[in-house]
């Protein structure tokens, strides 16, 4: 694994700086100018060294790349991180921290983490957490690179979440007849008062579904600070944007409140394909992203894996969807001409990573394109790479995954 220390990092900066001279004065020896910026790998609290896309707000992904997706549960210290606002408390005092349940309720609640643990029935669920913009860099295969940080598959993970049902909290507070929406807010704050808060909303009917949790535990430990300690919302089957971190306010509302992070950010075109002609900017009617799309990701091999002729390759990866369940994962080794079924591991609940493997005898030297394509139980199938509908925000990418390898 490449590990960039500070000196290397400064060197990379100089290299970038040098690129601006080209055209005026060519250096004696041609230098390699990276096409794509490579972020440094840095240790953050409670994390292994992570690829630091941004430190403020923190956007981190595992330095392992695809290899992270050869296991059913993503370790906490390698789990991706994505905050939206720069002012995040560096200390949460549990003796004063309270989760408020308020608004259109009969009895407003103010609960400590201990209250949640001791006064409500604990519930556990294994679920995939995936950023809406995960894999968006691959949209450039069908159109222009989209808006936003060009994530590869690194903005996802699967964990065992434990906490209290949101429904139990709402019922304990007593939701009034007038309740229509539930607003969610956490402790991350903007640098300036005028900047919109990271405020999210869900319809009351959805908030009362059984599987939604206010989680205080992730993979058997407290939530890591960077993943939302001490509480975060868990919405199995949904993209990560409403899984509010450092959750402090649950406000039952009688009407929808317009907000930047619901109505402008994290939106797709409001039409059947949720897509537009590639290249068009945001000039379309939008709707918030919600349910995840059926997807598989190849964990092994990756494009830099050296495969020797005659070896047996265990192609492996994960698949998941919005909670309908994976029916089949198909593998192609000839660039999509023929497909065969991968072996699926036992299901670990409806919302988790479903592991799959495929034994491949690497018999002939040459270039090979490995593809994975998942189908779920209601017939949703991953689109081919050239079929996926484009959107300017680069959300919901779920085309067939491709890894090009060389057998030597």
């Amino acid at each position: 694994m490449k590990h960039l220390n500070r000196r290397h990092f400064l060197g990379a900066g100089l290299l970038l700086g040098a690129s601006t001279l080209i055209g005026k004065e060519l250096p004696a020896k041609p230098i390699a100018i990276p096409q794509e910026y490579v972020p440094p790998i840095i240790a953050f609290p409670e994390k292994k060294p992570m690829v630091a896309i941004s430190d403020r707000p923190p956007l981190l992904k595992s330095a392992k790349g695809r290899e992270l997706f050869t296991q059913p549960i993503t370790p906490n210290d390698e789990f991706f991180v994505r905050w939206h606002l720069p002012d995040i408390p560096t200390f949460v005092d549990l003796s004063t921290f309270r989760l408020e349940v308020k608004g259109e309720v009969h009895t407003p609640l103010s609960l400590s983490v201990d209250d949640l643990k001791s006064k409500f029935e604990p519930t556990e669920i294994t679920a995939v957490l995936q950023c809406g913009g995960n894999s968006r860099k691959y949209y450039k295969n069908v159109g222009p690179a989209t808006h936003g940080v060009q994530w590869d598959h690194g903005a996802m993970g699967c964990a065992v979440w434990k906490g209290v049902r949101l429904k139990d909290l709402l019922e304990h507070a007593g939701v009034k007849e007038s309740a229509r929406w539930v607003g969610l807010n956490g402790l991350e704050k903007p640098a300036m008062e005028e900047t919109p808060d990271f405020f999210r909303e869900m319809a009351i009917a959805e908030a009362l579904e059984d599987q939604i949790l206010v989680a205080y535990s992730m993979n058997g430990e407290d939530l890591p600070y960077l993943n939302g300690f001490p509480l975060r919302l868990v919405i199995p089957g949904h993209f990560a944007d409403s899984w509010v971190k450092m959750l402090t306010e649950i406000t039952v509302l009688d009407r929808y409140q317009k907000s930047f992070f619901m109505d402008v950010a994290y939106t797709v075109p409001d039409n059947d394909c949720e897509c537009v002609v590639s290249g068009s900017d945001f000039e379309y009617k939008r709707k918030p992203i919600a349910s995840m799309k059926v997807k598989s990701v190849i964990g092994y091999p990756s494009s830099d894996t050296v495969i020797k002729k005659g070896s047996k390759v265990k192609v492996a990866g994960v698949a998941f969807d919005q909670g309908k369940g994976i029916k089949e994962v198909m593998i192609s080794l000839d660039g999509g001409k023929s497909w065969s079924a991968a072996k699926l591991a036992a299901e670990n609940g409806k919302y988790s990573f479903r592991m799959w493997t495929y034994e491949w005898d690497a018999k002939i030297k040459g270039d090979f394109s490995i593809m994975a394509r998942a189908i779920n139980r209601i017939g949703n199938i991953q689109p081919q790479v050239d079929e996926i509908g484009w959107n300017a925000g680069g959300y919901q990418y779920n085309a067939v995954d491709v890894v090009n390898v060389k057998i030597v």
Partner: protein
């Protein structure tokens, strides 16, 4: 209920990992910014809310893209940037982190 309480006790004893008694220390990452062409204006405003990593990790973008992004920072995020400084920042971004074209991307 008694069993539940016991479980809670055991959990309490084994899940203290994040309950640190002092603030966590967040590392500072010194993302490189190209000098010149009024980089100080970009520094002054862009870095109020986010690191330079946000720019570096989007890849090279067109003039309309960067212009739209600077406008989004003003209109949606309420960044206090004057018209003149918006222009300066857009020019800086296009020159060093983008390219000239009329299409949006």
């Amino acid at each position: 209920m008694k069993k539940l309480f016991l479980t809670a006790l055991i959990l309490g004893a084994t899940t203290l990992f994040a309950q640190v008694d002092k603030p966590v220390e967040m590392p500072y990452v010194d993302y490189p910014m190209v000098k010149g062409d009024h980089d100080e204006v970009a520094q002054q405003y862009c870095l109020i809310c986010h690191s330079w990593g946000y720019i570096l990790n989007q890849g090279k973008k067109s003039r309309p893209y960067w212009k739209g992004t600077v406008q989004k920072m003003v209109n949606e995020f309420k960044a206090p940037i004057s018209k003149e400084d918006q222009q300066t920042i857009t020019n800086y971004l296009v020159k060093h982190y983008g390219y000239e074209t009329t299409s949006a991307h």
